[in-house]
Point group: C3
Chain length 158, copies 3
């Protein structure tokens, strides 16, 4: 890749508004011709999970119940009381023709944005490769992410 | 602008402590001679709103009521129970002669820090240009922000 | 230092998962031969506090009680109801042989990662140098952090 171009986004948040921001920046970067990668770690993994229950151990299953993945289940970081936040936010996005998260993700994939799941997070949270959508790339660690980032102009932690 | 100098701060948070951190870094960067821009998106817009109620639709107005803008209404991300957080934090800042947010913002403006509101966030949240303080620059999108950021040394997401 | 290599991490969060992410990235960067510094500001200071009660004034002491420092007292940003979050998270980390925060911090120190506490945060929160672990470097401000960051490839705000 061309040196000093490109954008890396480390997405740790599983909050709707931040996931949305992450995909919007990734789309903008890819549309501007930058090589772009998103590294999904911890709660960010929810954005690339299929949405099935996960986990092997009792704790892993319990975590999956209180924090189930899947891009349509994600709520915003503010005002999520009684699910109102998610509904209100989705409604306002719809009213203003902002594309839903699923379409943003599709646009990112179509533009060639790489989706990399973080290995350590998957191990701790007991999420398997099969629990993730098919479009994700290789499961990788911090070293691989930093290596890509070394050729990038922006590296954001969201 | 000189290439590879400059600092971009994407401020998505509307929490007092993070807004404060964002302005402090922007001031530090501008004082060091870097061209500095802050891109205000989602809850971050509160920091450059005048503070009036906003919104056109029922939902937009409702969001403005639970999440009213204006730099003096902002509370910290931790311990905001019963407004104690904001009061306690403000009091400790005052006791230690740390400037309040409004002064930090003024210092940033005086040092030439650009304040850019995010177009898409304004549309979704139904915030108009008139709802923002006069010192803000052009309403812009991710593309313009990334273009500026391409000439910067740091791009932070706060 | 070699120009345009190196990594700066500004750690503002005191949440277990984010502190863990910060140390993991710092370790990865240092292990890859990059000069790496972590700048601890606000709640992030908890990760390098000894864990004793702090504060001089009534408010400072009160803040220390509700928000006591020390790397073993830190809880994750999600699901911290009744302390379950911290226990569950720690347990899952242990089950999967992920090192606890204290070992991560030690590994970072052993790899030469610089730990810099933010002066202004210490003043506002009434935390003294003696309240911090011995391995921290000079107390410094935004200017010094940015100067280091100017020679870095990545600057992350966590």
């Amino acid at each position: 890749m061309e040196s000093n171009n490109g954008t890396t986004i480390i997405l740790m948040s599983g909050d709707m508004d931040k996931v949305m921001a992450a995909f919007n920046i990734a789309i903008g970067a890819a549309a501007a011709g930058k090589e772009t990668a998103m590294f999904f770690t911890f709660w960010g993994l929810k954005a690339i999970q299929k949405g099935n229950y996960t986990g092997r151990s009792f704790l892993g299953k319990m975590m999956s119940i209180v924090n189930r993945g899947g891009i349509n289940r994600i709520g915003p970081s503010q005002f999520n009381f009684w699910g109102l936040g998610r509904w209100m936010f989705k409604q306002m996005m719809k009213n203003h023709k902002a594309p839903p998260l699923e379409e943003l993700r599709k646009a990112a994939i179509d533009l060639g944005v790489k989706l990399w799941p973080c290995q350590m997070s998957m191990e701790i949270m007991e999420i398997k490769k099969e629990d993730l959508i098919d479009e994700v790339g290789e499961v990788c660690g911090v070293a691989a992410m930093l290596e890509f980032s070394d050729h990038c102009k922006q590296t954001l932690f969201i």
